[in-house]
């Protein structure tokens, strides 16, 4: 058996599979890449050929990051490239997000991309795959991050809407994944009013609907419209901006795992922080390490020191890849 460390290396553009001749989520343009999901720090524009799920490729098209050529495969389907077997399995992060399972010379490595274990009505649930090396993110790898159930946070949002019926609740959220998950969670909680969208969120919401995710009635925010009592979703950059102020006395909310840290929430001028994350929290990172039973775990980005320390206490060898070009947050 050839240990994955002999055939998976880090190069300036990112993680590279030597025998396969392809990169995994490279952060600059390369000839061949396998991409876990559509977030811009994982799916960069300008690649030659990309292998990913059909949904991830659709997202790349919607974001003008389409590669020159592409190949879609389904979850569980296996493709062999130069003696490397590539299988994608759900990562539970956003629609189409996948773990990349690589098998070569008798050993197996899993590149998780970003993932979470909590249920999400907009994407397939994470499936743990036993492996020799598990390559994980560590965005929320500190014991302070224990994310509450998302439904409880949605209940807080709806309680605030009931408390301030004359104000507009503007929720800052990422355009891919978080926005659609919030909408789906609101629908599950019984919010059947139209949900209003900042223009930057429209394209990906439309794409989700096209791909079969029910989101209910969505409307664009019209200029100068009074939206008292309504819920508006907007990218994080817009909530503290003039854009939000024109809504008239908005309650500025933000949905992110970082909202757990008070001063972090405060820094963004947020009045109602909602702790809703699409990344694994600390207990999920550790239980995933147990589930995949890998003797060795590599950490791509985030708070790797703490995770490697805690893995060491469980007899798991941790290694920091310190990949550049990953967003600090989500």
């Amino acid at each position: 058996m050839a240990h994955p460390s002999t055939w998976l290396t880090t190069r300036p553009a990112g993680l590279y599979c030597e025998p396969g001749g392809f990169y995994l989520d490279p952060h600059s343009p390369v000839a061949k890449a396998v991409v876990t999901h559509g977030h811009s720090d994982h799916a960069r524009p300008g690649h030659g050929a990309v292998l990913a799920t059909a949904e991830t490729l659709a997202v790349m098209h919607a974001r003008n990051a389409a590669p020159a050529s592409e190949r879609a495969i389904r979850y569980g389907e296996t493709l062999s490239v130069n003696g490397v077997a590539i299988t994608l399995q759900p990562a539970g992060h956003v629609l189409g997000s996948a773990q990349i399972v690589l098998e070569h010379a008798g050993s197996r490595a899993v590149v998780s991309g970003d993932y979470k274990r909590a249920t999400d009505p907009t994407c397939a649930r994470f499936i743990p795959v036993p492996c020799d090396v598990f390559i994980t993110e560590a965005t929320f790898a500190l014991p302070v991050f224990r994310h509450p159930p998302a439904a409880a946070e949605i209940a807080r949002l709806l309680a605030s809407v009931a408390l301030f019926p004359e104000r507009t609740h503007v929720v800052g959220c990422y355009a891919l994944g978080k926005a659609q998950r919030l909408i789906a969670l609101l629908r599950q909680a019984g919010w059947d009013r139209p949900i209003f969208l900042h223009g930057a969120l429209q394209t990906l919401c439309d794409l989700y609907v096209e791909l079969g995710i029910e989101l209910g009635e969505l409307r664009p925010v019209a200029a100068g419209s009074g939206l008292a009592g309504e819920i508006v979703l907007a990218p994080p950059s817009a909530i503290a901006d003039r854009w939000a102020r024109r809504l008239g006395d908005p309650v500025v909310c933000a949905a992110s795992g970082l909202m757990l840290v008070r001063q972090r929430a405060k820094q963004g001028g947020v009045e109602l922080p909602l702790v809703i994350s699409d990344h694994a929290d600390w207990p999920e990172l550790l239980s995933t390490a147990d589930d995949v039973a890998a003797p060795e775990i590599w950490v791509t980005h985030g708070r790797e020191d703490a995770l490697i320390h805690a893995l060491g206490q469980r007899g798991i060898r941790g290694r920091a890849l310190r990949l550049v070009g990953r967003d600090e947050e989500e």
């Binding site: 500190l142 014991p143 302070v144 840290v261 001063q263 405060k266 820094q267 109602l272 703490a306 320390h309």
Partner: protein, 525 residues
């Protein structure tokens, strides 16, 4: 504890001052005694638990969490109470003790019993309540509500019966849980006046003056004085003489040489200095005397204290604060001529005919070892706080150097989890030596840039400190340079702030230690 925890949470996230005032007022109106007074004390910083200190929290954290994970978490979160509240290993329910139970528990439990008591509370509480509880122990709530704001909320609560200046006036004679204060505010009791006790009066503070203010003022309305480089004090003369800091801290024990000379009943405002043979010593000498609860005879001789008086608030029992500045000044001069206290003199007023003459005097201030100028409206009453337009401070221009970022640490409060605290250095031959550390002066945008820059240019880590590539130049403004053992350069800068980022400047062209040493008073060319 739950209403108090909710109050802290809402205060922290409420963006506006009016919203915070409304929250405080509602809390004071709806929560009964003594809890509301204890919350007021927590906000105003007047609770003190001699046996329950942050060390207790660290001890409990060490007992119940992994030390390495705790250190990394604390470094990220930037706040001890919040770190422990979030990572405490239990889920907690809402069987929290009341605020008064917590306060009396922290105050009355013998030190040996405190860890077990606090541990049981932490196990029972949710993270939000744990946070409030731990904040009581660390002090400094950092929820964007000050003592001042709380007093304004109290004044509003009285519905016009009491104004905030009156609350300020009696504040220093009151103690938690402030039941007579609340009774008075609600019209159910008399004004809780302190009979015959020495009382600190909140001082009048000056605003920094900017060019537009200068252009707008009529010099004929103002009196000018030097701005002395010492610390602001209030002196209470009489049978029980006292020396207070500007914040009302009683410093009498640290300055017996001053207090011994205050037999005449009066309340005076002035600057505490160290003086030798009529010469004002550098500020570093005053620092030698601060925080020495019982100075030795040698200290008193080496660093003789002195007060330079510039205002009088009371003469005997007569309140002079409503009088115009010039009238108070005449009363001060007459009093000084009669009382003639040792180790004191009067801050002279500076005659001037126009702004240009003042500009010239200010330009020479650094040379003369003076911090700048004060401009006081001749007709200004003595108003507590920092009223606009009455008193101005016009500091000498700062000095500036170009220094290279050497180390970075995460900040606290608003800057928590950002690399925002920078140690910077200058060249000593081929090597960089640190001369200062600062987090001030940077905009939010620069902060985001610097944080990201640090993450991508780290060359080594020492616990929470990151050593960075020596390539980024900062223009540092500072008030002065002095000899110090704090940095290995032997030099420290006073009040350094980051004036701007100089991306275009190569690190090799930053300033040298020799350039900085030249700026130390008495060591220049």
């Amino acid at each position: 504890m739950i209403p108090f925890a909710n109050l802290l949470e809402r205060l922290l996230f409420s963006p506006g001052r009016n919203a915070k005032l409304a929250l405080l007022r509602r809390y004071f109106e709806t929560v009964p005694d003594p809890d509301r007074g204890l919350a007021l004390a927590a906000i105003a910083g007047t609770l003190d638990f001699p046996a329950a200190k942050p060390a207790l929290i660290r001890e409990l954290a060490a007992r119940r969490t992994d030390p390495e994970l705790f250190a990394l978490s604390y470094d990220y979160v930037g706040d001890l109470a919040e770190t422990v509240a979030l990572m405490w290993p239990t889920e907690g329910d809402d069987t929290a003790p009341s605020l008064s139970d917590v306060v009396s528990g922290l105050r009355d439990t013998p030190k040996s019993g405190l860890p077990a008591l606090v541990e049981s509370w932490l196990d029972a509480c949710t993270p939000a309540v744990r946070f409030a509880l731990l904040k009581l122990i660390t002090g400094g709530l950092r929820v964007g509500a000050t003592a001042r704001l709380a007093k304004l909320a109290l004044a509003r609560m009285s519905e016009g019966r009491v104004d905030d200046a009156e609350i300020e006036e009696i504040w220093h004679a009151l103690a938690p849980p402030y039941e007579p204060l609340f009774a008075w505010l609600e019209g159910k009791g008399p004004r809780p006046d302190p009979p015959g006790r020495p009382v600190f009066r909140p001082p009048m503070l000056a605003n920094p003056i900017e060019e537009p203010d200068l252009a707008a003022l009529d010099p004929a309305d103002y009196v000018a004085e030097w701005k002395w480089d010492g610390i602001r004090v209030q002196l209470l003369g009489g049978a029980e003489p006292r020396l207070f800091s500007r914040a009302g801290e009683d410093m009498s024990a640290s300055f017996p040489d001053i207090v011994a000379n205050l037999a005449h009943p009066a309340v005076l405002d002035g600057e505490l200095l160290v003086m030798r043979e009529g010469e004002v010593a550098p500020f570093a000498d005053v620092q030698q005397r601060l925080n020495r609860k019982a100075p030795t005879r040698a200290m008193l001789e080496r660093f003789p204290a002195h007060v330079r008086l510039y205002d009088m608030l009371f003469e005997e029992a007569e309140d002079l604060r409503a009088l115009p500045f010039t009238a108070r000044r005449r009363r001060l001069e007459a009093w000084f001529a009669r009382a003639a206290p040792a180790r004191a003199d009067l801050s002279p007023t500076i005659g001037f005919t126009g702004l240009d003459q003042l500009r010239g005097l200010r330009a020479g201030a650094r040379e003369a070892g003076i911090e700048g100028l004060m401009l006081k409206r001749a007709d200004s009453p003595y108003v507590a706080g920092r009223p606009r337009g009455l008193w101005w401070k016009w500091k000498r221009d700062p000095l500036a150097i170009d220094a290279v970022v050497m180390y970075a640490q995460r900040g606290h409060g608003r800057r928590s989890s950002f690399y925002s605290d920078f140690t910077f250095g200058v060249w000593d031959g081929e090597a960089l030596v640190p001369v200062g550390k600062t987090y001030s002066g940077i905009s939010d945008r620069e902060l985001a840039f610097l944080d990201n820059w640090v993450r991508h240019h780290t060359v080594a880590r020492f616990g929470p400190v990151r050593e960075v590539e020596k390539s980024l130049v900062l223009e540092i403004e500072f008030d002065g340079a002095q000899r110090s053992t704090r940095h290995r350069s032997g030099v420290a800068l006073r009040f350094p702030r980051i004036a701007r980022l100089r991306h275009e400047k190569p690190a090799a062209e930053a300033d040298t230690l020799a350039n900085v040493t030249r700026l130390i008073p008495g060591e220049g060319p």
